[in-house]
Structure formats: structure tokens, C-alpha cells
């Protein structure tokens, strides 16, 4: 147990009915690339301290990014005076019986830490692989981290685990066309870093032919980056608190109801040691486990902590978040489509290689749109014939998921600016997707 956590526990135990201390220590180094050069190196040495304090069913969560024990304790003790003046929390549940401490082994790769002071070799591999494709310039980011998570609770739970994290993404430009790729893992794989640059360069140089298309319905293949982004939003909506707040498509599509094609399986996978969201225990000390959110198109799991589970008559799923249950890692089950067959399966339509700015008009119905940001390829008779500029997928989640006609076999571990929950994702192919773009 960290000394700070020990001091906080010792001081607050007895004053509150329950005390939980979550300490996250993070050492990170990031190099950001701009026009094929570093724009900045950034380094962080941070200790984040989170407290869950309860008394007489009143619940407080405190977040500190300071190592000053006096201010932490002073802030914590100041809440005691509120007990008689604030109502009981409607989402309170006593801390559950603690799970066993089973930290995930093999989530730490010392090679990642060894490159923090000098990542030039990794950066050069990523940049050179892109430039070798004939691009004009490369932007991107390489982030290396070591993270130690410790949880101590007054219910007797005490556990700590350590993981490393590499996140690499590159955007390569050839004239007005760009390609993008991303990789995230707890392990350092030089080939994967190189592949980020190579694939970004590949998409930037795949075609120079601009083709105008009209808005309408198209068969669409989306890359693992797009899959990661869209399924991040979907998985956030699987949090029980999002449902309680009304901001979830799973209110209309609860467990055991079909939301999509049989080809779709979406798994929350905290116990995968290679995905950077890996967690052996949740914030309530429950041992995590892998679970399908959607299995063969049918909704299977809503993500709970003890409080949301108590409110909705369910069991915790090991996804606490003291307030907000959260997915840890996502995995889309593999399909049987080979990558070289994707254009043939699309036949006439689009391959969207990257997106951003996904926003929902209505979470309850799942209406959303998202914009392509790197090359969007036009496919005719199973062949790539050009690119179409920036277009928009505008549909609803149930409609999109029901139109899934193919899932690639190969999957990629994706994590970047637009994919914050690490996701193992394949290419996916949908039919008759609504595509829009301005006509003025």
C-alpha cells in the first residue's frame, strides 16, 4: 500500500462508515509530431488520489491531483459537517464483499519504460515507414506510460497492479489526401509501431482520383479505427447510470433483445493483459471478468457497479466506477472475411478509413452522425476506383447494427484520440448505410 493511502486510511477510518482510497500513479512521456518533426515532448509524473467516503448512507467522491496529505485530509474531513444537511444518496449501496486480489499479470512491459527518455528510434520507425510510401508529411503521437493502480478499502480489500501502455498513431498526407492508423497495447511491438506509419502512408497514397458522389444509401466498410470510435459510444451507453439518466439506446434494447445482426458480438474484456484498459479489480474491489455486451446481435449485459445493480435489481458486473460504471476494454468478435475480400463484399459503395466528431441527436433512439476525416474510398464492382472527399454516416445504432453483413477475421488493437476505450476491432461491412454531405 502506498504511504499516502495508508495515511489517509488511518486518519479517516472511524470518522466515516466506509473509506476507499484509489491511488493511480502515472509516469508518461509523449512526443507529438507535426510536419514530420516533433512539435513537443510532454512528460508527466502524477499521482491521482480518489476517495469514496460514506456516512449514514451519504456518499462523497473526492478526486485529488495533489500529493499534499494535509489538504486531502482537510478536504475529506470538511464533509463530515454535511452529514445532517445533505440527503441520502439515491445511488448508494454498501461496499460489496471484497473479491480476491487477483491483479492481471503480464500487463507490464519494461521495454516501454526504457524508451521514455529517448523514443527517437520508435518515432523514426513510424515516420520512416510512412515516408517510404511516398507521402509528403506525417503527424502523429507516440505515448509511453507506466501506471500503478492501488485500491484500499475499509471492507478489507487491498490490491495493487501495474501496467504499461504504448499508444501510437500517425496521419500521413499526400497532397490533400490523408491516411491514418493507430495502435494501443500494454506491450511494445516494434512491428506494430512501424505498421502504424506504413498503413497511414498506404491509405494516403492509395488513390489520387477524386470522385463526387451524391448523398444516399451505400454499402459501407468501416476500418478498425471507425469501429473503435462507434463502439466506444455504444459501450458508454451500456453503463447502467447512462440508462438511469435516460441517455442510452439500451433503454429500448434491454438484455435479451436483438439490436443487431447475428454477426455482431461486442465484449467488455478487462482481463486481457495486452489491451491498455486492463483491470484485475474494479473501483469497489470486485474481481473483473470478461462479458459480452452484445452477443450474436442480442443485448446480453448492462455494465453495473453495486449501486446501479441494487437500484435495477441486478448484480454488479465488476465495472465500478464509484458513480459511473464503465467499460474497460472492448473486443469485437472476429468474422470470416479476409481483408482482401472487403472491397468485393462492398461491391458498390464506400470504405471509410477514419472518422471523427460522432454526435447523437437522441441517445434513447440512438440517432447519430459521424464525419469521415481521412481517405474515404469509392468501390465499384469490387474495385477501389477513387476517393470521395469527406462524407458523413448519418443513421441510428439499431439501424446500422442490423445492416451488418460482414466482419473481417483480422483484428487490430486500436487506441487513439477518438478511441479512448482500447478496442480490438476488425473491418466491418454494412449494407445500405445513409451517407450525407452538404449539397451547397
Amino acid at each position: 500500500m502506498s504511504e499516502l493511502a495508508q495515511l489517509i486510511m488511518k486518519t479517516l477510518t472511524g470518522k466515516y462508515d466506509e473509506v476507499s482510497v484509489l491511488v493511480v500513479k502515472k509516469e508518461s512521456a509523449m512526443t507529438k509530431l507535426w510536419n514530420t518533426e516533433p512539435s513537443i515532448t510532454q512528460s508527466w509524473s502524477e499521482t491521482h488520489i480518489h476517495l469514496r467516503l460514506t456516512k449514514s448512507r451519504r456518499l462523497w467522491v473526492l478526486s485529488f491531483e495533489t500529493r499534499d496529505p494535509l489538504s486531502i485530509i482537510k478536504d475529506s474531513e470538511s464533509l463530515l459537517s454535511l452529514v445532517d444537511r445533505v440527503e441520502e444518496a439515491q445511488l448508494y449501496s454498501p461496499l460489496p464483499e471484497p473479491g480476491k486480489c487477483s491483479p492481471i499479470e503480464e500487463a507490464y512491459d519494461s521495454k516501454i519504460e526504457s524508451f521514455m527518455d529517448n523514443p527517437v528510434e520508435l518515432l523514426e520507425q513510424m515516420i520512416n515507414a510512412a515516408m517510404a510510401q511516398g507521402v509528403d508529411r506525417v503527424a502523429g503521437t507516440l505515448t509511453l506510460s507506466k501506471i500503478t493502480i492501488t485500491l484500499v478499502s475499509s471492507n478489507g480489500f487491498e490490491c495493487s497492479e501495474v501496467k504499461s501502455q504504448v499508444e501510437a498513431y500517425a496521419r500521413a498526407f499526400k497532397g490533400e489526401i490523408s491516411g491514418h492508423w493507430a495502435h494501443g497495447s500494454t506491450r511494445l511491438d516494434l512491428k506494430a509501431i512501424e505498421d502504424v506509419g506504413r498503413r497511414a502512408g498506404y491509405y494516403a497514397t492509395l488513390t489520387k482520383t477524386k470522385v463526387d458522389i451524391s448523398p444516399g444509401e451505400y454499402n459501407v466498410a468501416i476500418s478498425p479505427l471507425v469501429v473503435g470510435n462507434l463502439f466506444n459510444y455504444l459501450a458508454y451507453m451500456a453503463s447502467a447510470l447512462q440508462m438511469l439518466m435516460g441517455f442510452s439506446v439500451f433503454l429500448k434494447y434491454p438484455p435479451d433483445v436483438r439490436i443487431g445482426s447475428e454477426l455482431l458480438t461486442l465484449i467488455d474484456k478487462p482481463r486481457d493483459p495486452t489491451l491498455p484498459g486492463v483491470r484485475g479489480f474494479d473501483d469497489e474491489g470486485i474481481e473483473t471478468f470478461n462479458k459480452p455486451i452484445i452477443e450474436k446481435g442480442v443485448v446480453r449485459s448492462i455494465l453495473h457497479n453495486s449501486a446501479t445493480a441494487a437500484k435495477l435489481g441486478a448484480k454488479t458486473t465488476g465495472n465500478a466506477g464509484w458513480i459511473l460504471p464503465t467499460p474497460w476494454n472492448l473486443e469485437i468478435a472476429e468474422g470470416d472475411v479476409k481483408e482482401e475480400e472487403i472491397a468485393q463484399l462492398v461491391k458498390d459503395g464506400l470504405i471509410i478509413t477514419n472518422n471523427w466528431y460522432t454526435r447523437l441527436q437522441n441517445y434513447y433512439e440512438g440517432y447519430f452522425s459521424t464525419v469521415s476525416r481521412d481517405v474515404a474510398l469509392l468501390v465499384k464492382n469490387g474495385e477501389v476506383v477513387g476517393h470521395v472527399g469527406r462524407v458523413r454516416i448519418a443513421t441510428s445504432y439499431p439501424r446500422l447494427l442490423s445492416s451488418l453483413i460482414g466482419v473481417a477475421k483480422r483484428r487490430y488493437d486500436v487506441s487513439w484520440w477518438e478511441v479512448r476505450i482500447p478496442t480490438r476491432a476488425p473491418f466491418m461491412i454494412f449494407e445500405k448505410v445513409n451517407i450525407t454531405k452538404p449539397e451547397v
Partner: protein, 479 residues
């Protein structure tokens, strides 16, 4: 010399002694609380205190940033060393040096004055306030079902001390208050969701000024009519009128962002994207007509994006982003100002101690006109008025944009008529600014949290404008 001034001074001396050409040290503390109520009952109370020091150095033309939330001198010296050594290592990959513009830097202290200081605002009083808002609203929605009302109140107190090796020193205290009312209405097989935000700098007195309960209730009653009586938008091209909230978002997205000089140069290419604006277009390219004047002003008293000096100690001032249709003045920090051969206009902001200062908007708005609303729409035979939105997005060059209306009405024979459900507007930046045909004089601002950078930094901004009338446009529907 205060404790923090002495500490920052030692860090700067350390960086200079290592050989840095420029050192900047920033102490920042962000603290306060956030409470949330779901359907009138307390769901969470969260207190936060985010405090530490961020250091930025220039060495061999390479920029390094490092941050720590330990305030122990030895830990902070290591932070300076990390910024220096890692920037020096990365300099091997730089072909041209990063340099900063020469500036007359501020030496100043300023504080936002609150009538009722937020530091004295008690959690229980905040809970009572939101409870009363819920009571005022809940029983009044009768035709539709108010399935959920999530209320959030956030108190944010921000202290900063910034010191630079070339003479800048600025201390500031900015208190901010934020309220969110997020609702879901259901009616038969229809539903509608709305996020209504209030945000500004100041004290507890803002809660009275905002009239949260009546504003939320009045809007929900109007949205109830949209949900229960809304019709599909016309299928032909019609005149379009946009309310200040929608106009504000449009100018934020398609004037503010593309006029950030770091985007124009490609520094955010792999994250928030680039810009349709190229350096050679500044001062010569017309993106719109004479109505297209967009102003960016951090100095508006009480605004959510308020500051008087940026995080490089450069004095803030208003800037014209677009002026009568002309692409006029980008937002600069000292780095981009040097490249463009101009002075910085003070746009560098950092979210917290652990964030590098980058070019950010503050308060962005379309200059209002001089008509009243009735005059703006009086000669429209058939049109659509879009007052608020939920879904929106824009491409990463800031050209192709979409807004889906929430509260919207038909305009028939110069008057607002029946409500319209989910009208979809898609247009380019060039079309919007070239097709403004009228503006009224009702300037309104709305708060937002703007995201940019890696790691992503969310900073408070205002965006606003008047009611704006556009040329005819085909309105889409949700599919």
C-alpha cells in the same frame, strides 16, 4: 516574493542553468465541487482539487513540457530536467527550430470579483437550489412524459501563477459556475432529448441572473409541443432562420477553429485536424459577405471564457477572425506569431497544470445587426426557424458541417407557426457565411467546453450571436 513566486523562480533558474533558451513555469490549482441530481434526488457529490506545476522549455529549437503534482523542490527539479532532456533528445528530429515571438509581457495580478463568493457556496445550498429547480419543472410537463431530468452544478475556482524567463509574471483568480439540465421527453413512440447549459465567471449571484428554473421549464414546455405536435420540415428549399445558440455554435466551429494558427500550420493535424484556411489566405480571401463578421474576445466581463492575460503572459484583446467576410486575424500564441511574423494576440490557454498552453478560443460571436426579430422574418412566406440543436459535427478542415435542430418552427407569412421535428441542416462554411441575408440585434451567449490537444484539454468558452436569416436551403430529415 510569495511562496509560489519563489518556487517558480527557482524552476526557471534551473532550466536556464541547464541551457534552455526559454523557460516558463506555471502553478495552477483547479478546485471545487460537482453535484448531480437525477429526477430531483441527489446522485453524487464530488469534490476535486487538481494542483501542480507545469514547466515548458525551449532547447535547441525543440519544445518540452513536463508536469508534476508534487510540490517538493527535488521532484520539481526533476520535472524541469525531464522537460529539458527529452526536448533536447527530440531536437535531433527537428529540421527547423521552434522560436517564440518577442513580446511585451505582462507583470500583473488580477481577480474576478464575485458579489457572492463561490468559495462560500455550500454543497447543501447547491443541492437545495437544484432540488427547487426540479420541483418547479417536474409537475408542469403534462402532455409528454418527463422520463428523466439530470441536473449538474459545478463550482470551479481557478488559481494560476505564470512566470517566464523573459520577464512575464501573471497571477490570476477566476471563479466559474456551471449548471446543466439534461432532459428526456417521451410521447407515444417519439422521444426528444435536450442539454441546456448555463456557465459564466462570477459568484453565486449568477444563479439568480440565469433564472434557471423558469428558463428550463419554459423551454421544456416548448419542447413538449415540438414533440407532441411537431411536423416534418418542408421538402422544398425554404428560407432558414437560425437562433443565437445555433449561430454561436456555427461560428465557434467554422470561424473560431479554422482561425487557430496552430491548426492552419498543421500542428493539430493528427488530433483536432487542420483548417481550410491557409496562411496565404489571411487578409486576402473572402469567405463570406458583409454580414460575416466574427469576433473573438477573452476580455468580456463575466464571460465563461474570460481572461486578461494568456498562459504565456501576453495581454488578451479582442480580435476580428472574419471581418465583413474577409479572413482577417488568426488566433496566435508566441510560437505561431513568430512564424507569421506578427505579435501574439494572447490565445494560449492550458486546462490545468498538467496541460501545455495551446491556442484556444475564449468567447466567439457573430457581430449582431440592428433589426428586431419580427423585422428579420416579416417577409418570409415559408421558412424554418431553428432555435436549438442536439446533434452537430463538422469535418476536420472545418468546411463540411451539419446541425440537427431540436426546438424548431415553421415560419409562415412572416410569423412563427407550428413546431418542426428534427430538421437537418448541412452546408459548407463558405455557403453559410456567403448566404447571411439578415441579422437581428439580439446578441446571446451560450457556454461550452471546447476540446483540443493531446491529451485532450477541455476549456470553458462562450459562443454566441444574434438570430440570423439565410438564403433558401433544402432541409433534411433523420433517417
Amino acid at each position: 516574493m510569495s511562496y509560489s513566486e519563489d518556487l517558480l523562480n527557482r524552476l526557471i533558474e534551473r532550466g536556464v542553468a541547464l541551457g534552455a533558451d526559454y523557460v516558463e513555469a506555471r502553478y495552477q490549482e483547479d478546485r471545487g465541487f460537482t453535484i448531480a441530481l437525477l429526477n430531483g434526488r441527489l446522485t453524487s457529490v464530488q469534490l476535486y482539487r487538481v494542483r501542480g506545476i507545469g514547466v515548458r522549455v525551449l532547447v535547441n529549437g525543440s519544445l518540452g513540457f513536463a508536469a508534476s503534482n508534487s510540490l517538493e523542490v527535488e521532484d520539481l527539479f526533476k520535472t524541469v530536467d525531464n522537460a529539458f532532456t527529452r526536448a533536447k533528445v527530440a531536437s535531433k528530429l527537428r529540421k527547423s527550430p521552434i522560436e517564440f515571438s518577442e513580446e511585451k509581457l505582462g507583470r500583473s495580478k488580477y481577480r474576478v470579483v464575485e458579489k457572492k463568493p463561490l468559495v462560500d457556496f455550500k454543497v447543501e445550498d447547491a443541492v437545495s437550489f437544484l432540488t427547487e429547480v426540479y420541483k418547479a419543472v417536474a409537475g408542469e410537463i403534462k402532455d409528454a412524459k418527463l422520463a428523466s431530468l439530470v441536473e449538474v452544478l459545478k463550482v470551479h475556482l481557478q488559481d494560476k501563477v505564470v512566470m517566464t524567463s523573459d520577464g512575464g509574471y501573471v497571477e490570476s483568480y477566476i471563479p466559474r459556475l456551471y449548471v446543466l439540465a439534461s432532459s428526456t421527453l417521451l410521447y407515444q413512440n417519439r422521444s426528444l432529448q435536450r442539454r441546456r447549459e448555463f456557465g459564466a465567471t462570477g459568484g453565486v449571484e449568477l444563479l439568480d441572473e440565469w433564472k434557471v428554473a423558469s428558463t428550463v421549464l419554459d423551454e421544456l414546455k416548448r419542447l413538449e409541443k415540438v414533440l407532441t405536435k411537431g411536423v416534418s420540415p418542408p421538402s422544398d428549399k425554404v428560407d432558414i432562420v437560425l437562433g443565437p445558440e445555433v449561430v454561436g455554435l456555427i461560428v465557434h466551429e467554422s470561424a473560431g477553429h479554422p482561425m487557430e494558427a496552430d491548426r492552419i500550420l498543421g500542428r493539430e493535424a493528427a488530433q483536432a485536424g487542420e483548417s481550410y484556411v491557409k496562411p496565404e489566405m489571411i487578409g486576402v480571401f473572402r469567405v463570406g459577405n458583409q454580414y460575416a463578421t466574427v469576433i473573438e474576445d477573452p476580455t468580456i466581463p463575466g464571460s465563461y471564457g474570460y481572461y486578461l492575460y494568456d498562459d504565456e503572459c501576453v495581454r488578451a484583446r479582442p480580435r476580428y477572425l472574419y471581418r465583413e467576410g474577409l479572413i482577417y486575424e488568426p488566433l496566435h500564441n508566441r510560437h505561431t506569431a513568430r512564424i507569421f511574423g506578427v505579435k501574439s494576440n494572447g490565445a494560449a490557454r492550458a486546462m490545468n497544470y498538467a496541460s501545455e498552453p495551446i491556442i484556444r478560443m475564449s468567447n466567439t460571436y457573430l457581430e449582431p445587426g440592428n433589426m428586431n426579430f419580427e423585422e428579420l422574418i416579416e417577409d418570409i412566406e415559408l421558412g424554418v426557424y431553428v432555435k436549438s440543436y442536439m446533434e452537430w459535427n463538422i469535418d476536420d478542415a472545418r468546411w463540411n458541417q451539419r446541425y440537427v435542430g431540436l426546438e424548431a418552427y415553421l415560419i409562415r407569412n412572416g410569423e412563427l407557426a407550428e413546431p418542426v421535428l428534427n430538421p437537418v441542416l448541412e452546408f459548407t462554411t463558405g455557403w453559410f457565411y456567403s448566404n447571411i441575408v439578415g441579422k437581428d440585434k439580439n446578441l446571446e451567449f451560450y457556454p461550452g467546453t471546447c476540446g483540443k490537444g493531446e491529451p485532450s484539454q477541455g476549456v470553458p468558452v462562450w459562443f454566441g450571436g444574434p438570430n440570423v436569416r439565410l438564403s433558401k436551403l433544402k432541409v433534411g430529415v433523420l433517417r
